[in-house]
Chain length 301, copies 2
Amino acid sequence: MAGELIECVPNFSEGRRLEVIEEIIAPFRKERGCVLLDYRADPDHNRLVVTIAGEPKAVQQALLEASLRAVKNINMENHRGSHPRIGAVDVIPFVPLRNISMMKCVELSLNFGRVFNQQTGIPVYFYEESAQRPERRRLEVIRKGQYETLKAEVKKPERHPDIGKTELHPTAGATVIGARKFLIAYNVNLDTENEEVVKFIAKAVRASSGGFCNVKGIGIYLKERGITQVSMNITDFERNPLYRVTELIRVEAKRWGIQVLETEVYGMIPAAAIVESLSYYLQIKDFSPDQVIELRLLDLI
Amino acid sequence: MAGELIECVPNFSEGRRLEVIEEIIAPFRKERGCVLLDYRADPDHNRLVVTIAGEPKAVQQALLEASLRAVKNINMENHRGSHPRIGAVDVIPFVPLRNISMMKCVELSLNFGRVFNQQTGIPVYFYEESAQRPERRRLEVIRKGQYETLKAEVKKPERHPDIGKTELHPTAGATVIGARKFLIAYNVNLDTENEEVVKFIAKAVRASSGGFCNVKGIGIYLKERGITQVSMNITDFERNPLYRVTELIRVEAKRWGIQVLETEVYGMIPAAAIVESLSYYLQIKDFSPDQVIELRLLDLI
């Protein structure tokens, strides 16, 4: 039996002080069994988004170490930034990648939440697939009013943490932990400057306007290029595959004689997603990610 | 620096005796750092084709062990089968997969050839990218007349082995070793019973009739299904990508109002090949195999 592999995208509330950012990231660089795939610090958001992957134990070990460093360096009482947040270690999503089910990943997130609380003293809310109350599946619900509001409202029963005391950590606030599916950031660029049209098309594909259930998206004008873009997050690529989203946008764009100029896969994508969409276009029968030779070599880990 | 990974597809001249087949395969199963991806024994061909991948050292170690077992069990004097062959360990192609150049893979094959000859006493011919004489790039040239003819002709200068004595091993014959690119076995099925048409289309795409330089192919009738198939080997998927081969077949089929029913990827395919072809259909800008998250985890090996 080959090893389990997960992805994790922890968000820390520090996007400005480079030395703190480096200190938080260091454990992800040095932990054996964990690969640091990407990190982006945004000074406006005052936030650090890290993407790591690897064996569950190694990932969790590095996460704990990085979190302790975040707690040591970040004081939510002084934190300002344009992105919503409730804590120094704001949110930790675990994503099943290989040889691990979603159910197992939920279990892992719940266990990690307990250890995390014990070691940091930070109260924990569980979200997405790990939510302990239905409304907490949605991050917005847990983060409502952000740190400043939650500090008072944490005493109310409906805002009690799932783990820990009914008060925020004095400097590190609270943390949201959970398991979710892989998220693909995908953009489709259109050869029109017409913002009205791109907004119409975005509505056709996104869940909030009645489109695909696992697509979030907005239509935006890219001024410097004089084109428009349907900017999307696909939150379940098995239910809403790339080819289907793309071809629907093509169909909608045709009404105005508009073409798809190009698309962008922003960041990481799982092999299964590209195998599925290529199977559509080439009409490949019974094509499986197991046929991708490099994936078979993951058994060596 | 992450580790080098290669594929290897050794062919042994035994496709009937199950206990011998199992004995030859055993080292590929147990060698750490080597993954046994596939093996197929064909009784008519009386031949065993094994697909392995992994770290160069582990792959070579398992190959030597398997080859010694093949030499012990196979006697070319008694070998009969419908597939051309010159030895018990008939051919060993090395294929660069990851973090290794073709040049490095050629070097590896040449070194392996020397060690192989020392340990088995079998004379070695180098082919494909490792060929020491231009005409020996082609396997057919080296294998001309097969074991029975080569036994006599090996004395002629133009048939001297590249390594070893100018006589065949008394029971194991000779072995062909070399480095080549990844080969994709790809079939396109057409909704016609017309064999003439499928042969016309096969000629349009294959190198031997003036088509794509790195495509071999034939048009065949699949009697049991009442359809036809362009059955291909793509020997360089970077120069002749899947999408281009498929779309050309579609274009040719249109002349007769014939549709592509489905396609088949037979066996393994490298991630770069699916990334490239999906990029075409989705018009993805600057899409790289490095964005396939599972591939990044190969750094853990």
